[in-house]
């Protein structure tokens, strides 16, 4: 847009001094803009700001919510995480590694599977809407439901898949208690559960791409694959950024599937860091200060990952 357009867009308004215009448009009272911000500001402060500050306070203490005393321990809870001799050191970093493993295996899988499904569901064929609904349906279930569902399918003693394979004379591995099968099981369950969400967003993105581009390229002799590579993918770039970012965050938040399906095992091999944090904070140990410190470290790591992710996707290709 150039300055030449401004008079036309502005209609018959006479030019006015900038200071006068600002005063009349925003109002004469200094607090008016804050009043407009207030509803969100109050909610944000109550639901995010205050818990954040309170969490920081907790992380500096030996805190347990049923006890009246919560001694100040300074940075001890943070130092424990870099002291190889501390009790939590090994578990915390193994948990973080487990979470990162899941992010690495699940993000490409769930994004590509979502993209593939979105392309398929974009075609013109009978029953298209039925399939769109079908693939999205599992996403509406809770983690408890899908966890138990897949546990019943995969468990060793009379699980659906195990029994079916036994019927063919095949002895499957222990899906839920031997690595790497535990990760495969968790990944498949997560794929089935959440791929519909990525699919719907990417499908909406594909539908907003102009049909003209495809028509023009097909006149020029482009194949379907070339169209996908050179029209669909570049046009979806901002949507893909959104999907990848949301997927990384969602995968980082892995808790329920291993909690229900593998119990975090074998050993601690599938205990994601957030499950470990929950366990030491609420499930038996009640070390809430330590748990809060771990949560802050994990949050910091997630912020860094998101920043890198945005940088990578923002850089325009030549």
């Amino acid at each position: 847009m150039t300055t030449a357009n401004v008079p036309a867009a502005g209609g018959g308004l006479a030019p006015q001094p900038a200071a006068a215009r600002r005063r009349r448009r925003i109002g004469e009272k200094w607090y008016v803009p804050y009043l407009f911000l207030a509803p969100h500001l109050i909610l944000f402060t109550a639901l995010i700001g205050w818990p954040f500050v309170y969490g920081l306070w907790i992380s500096l203490r030996d805190y347990d919510f049923v006890r009246s005393a919560s001694p100040f321990v300074g940075l001890q809870n943070y130092l424990n995480l870099i002291d190889p001799d501390s009790f939590h050191f090994g578990f915390f970093w193994q948990g973080l590694l487990n979470t990162v493993i899941f992010v690495i295996i699940s993000t490409p899988t769930l994004v590509t599977a979502g993209l593939g499904l979105a392309v398929l569901l974009n075609g013109h064929y009978p029953g298209r809407n039925f399939f769109r609904g079908l693939y999205f349906a599992p996403w509406t279930l809770s983690v408890a439901v899908i966890g138990l569902l897949w546990w019943w399918i995969l468990q060793d003693n009379g699980g659906l898949l195990t029994n079916a394979l036994n019927g063919f004379g095949i002895q499957p591995p222990s899906w839920l208690s031997s690595t790497p099968w535990t990760w495969v099981a968790i990944l498949v369950a997560t794929l089935w559960w959440t791929v519909g969400f990525n699919t719907i967003i990417l499908l909406a993105g594909i539908q907003s791409i102009s049909v003209d581009l495809y028509e023009a390229s097909s006149i020029d002799g482009a194949s379907r694959w070339q169209q996908f590579l050179h029209i669909t993918i570049p046009s979806l770039r901002p949507i893909l950024l959104l999907v990848v970012t949301l997927q990384i965050i969602a995968s980082f938040n892995l808790v329920g599937q291993p909690q229900i399906m593998t119990g975090g095992g074998p050993g601690h091999d599938t205990t994601p860091v957030l499950l470990y944090i929950y366990n030491i904070g609420f499930n038996g140990r009640y070390e809430l200060g330590q748990a809060a410190a771990m949560a802050f470290v994990v949050a910091l790591i997630m912020v860094l990952v998101s920043v890198v992710n945005f940088r990578v996707f923002r850089s325009e290709p030549d």
Binding site: L176, S177, G265, P266, H268, N279, N283
Partner: protein, 464 residues
Amino acid sequence: MDSTDLERLLTQAHERRLSRRELLRITGMSAGALALGPLLAACGVKQGPGATASHAVVATLGAPSKPVSLDFWNGWTGPDGEFAKHMVDQFNTETPNVKVKVTTQADYYTKIRAAKVSNKLPHIAMMHIEQIPQNAADGIITPMDDLVSLLQLSGSDFTDVVWKNGEYQGKRWGIPIDQHMESFYWNKELFTKAGLDPEKPPTDKESFEAAATALTQKAGVPGFMVVTSGPGGAFLSGVAWSCGFYQGGGEWTNGDHSEATYNSDAGVKSAEWLAHLIKDLKVSPANVQSDSEISAFAQGKNAMVWSGIWQTSRYVEALGDKLGAGPIPKIFGSGVWSGSHHLSVGNRPDMTAEEREGSYYFIDWFSKHSIEWAKSGQLPARKSVRESAEFKALPVQSAIAAQIDDAHFFPEIPAAADLLFGPGGAGESILTVLNGKSDAKSALDKSATQYSKVLKQNKQKYGF
């Protein structure tokens, strides 16, 4: 609550009971339904802060004279919860003045802590024995020494350990209702098939190894499955290991609970023996997922199993007459892992004297009716109940009850069960040994070193 409060409560309770007796005589109601028979003689009564009343007063506890509604919370989410519900229904029918409402929930101890923060604790709370120190220290339950002296209860109707472990820092916090112990089950049909006498189960290391080998070779099924993995692996193999550990004279901690000592010879030997069953004797497959040893035994595909007594009804249903049950064999000596449910009184600052009396009445009633509870697969904590004809008519439970004096519990300190079940605790170490990833000594050393640090922290936090 200090001792003057206790004395006041005690006096009130005595006064009310006498007046209620007169009332009963006038109204002609059945006294038996409300006032329970005297308990044991005064000998051995714990001299708690409330034990000042004369023991000459007859030791009965009546229901409160005014109607009260009480909340009773437990974590019995399995079939045991149904048994508890039936017993409470029976109690409510028998006791018009006291209405008890049961709430059963998963993640019980987390929920009860949340309830403490919002000041909504129940009047009566189920407590696992190893949870008593933590919940006492955290102000979730209240001392009940006054009930002990009111009822002239004493340890003599209970095993010494189960009675002693209901105490923490010199006060009583719970009344035991059961002991649930690790138990030995065998398949009689498979015993016959292997040329063994199904009525003569192995009782020591030699006979146990011989039987397991014979069963594996001649009956064509694993002789004795040892759990090596799965979500419940650290619990199941941890408990099995702890039996050998207790038998070898193992102690969890040193005298002042500042060092973890389960990496002692007793612990190492017990772990090595379980690994020996898998590696050398090959009576157990190399990979056994948690609970598959249970279902295999129920299906006749595992000849012997060590399980918690709560599996009894499942095994009886599946195997019927083929099921043999009894004490855990003495591999290294006497000693068996045991748990126990206690009933405690919740710490409600606004609890009235009637509510407290009603809670005591209910706890006493539940404890005395624990024969019903035994049917859910438990050993009643009371000797008098265990000696009843009704209990002796339960063949499996009464056979297992022979080992009740060998029961061992965790030390009476907060979070003691973490030593076995916590992250990196003995249970997880045992799994690494059974998986061949580590030798017994270094696995237990590593775990005990970590938990010595935890013990020192807890010692400071809870002041034990």
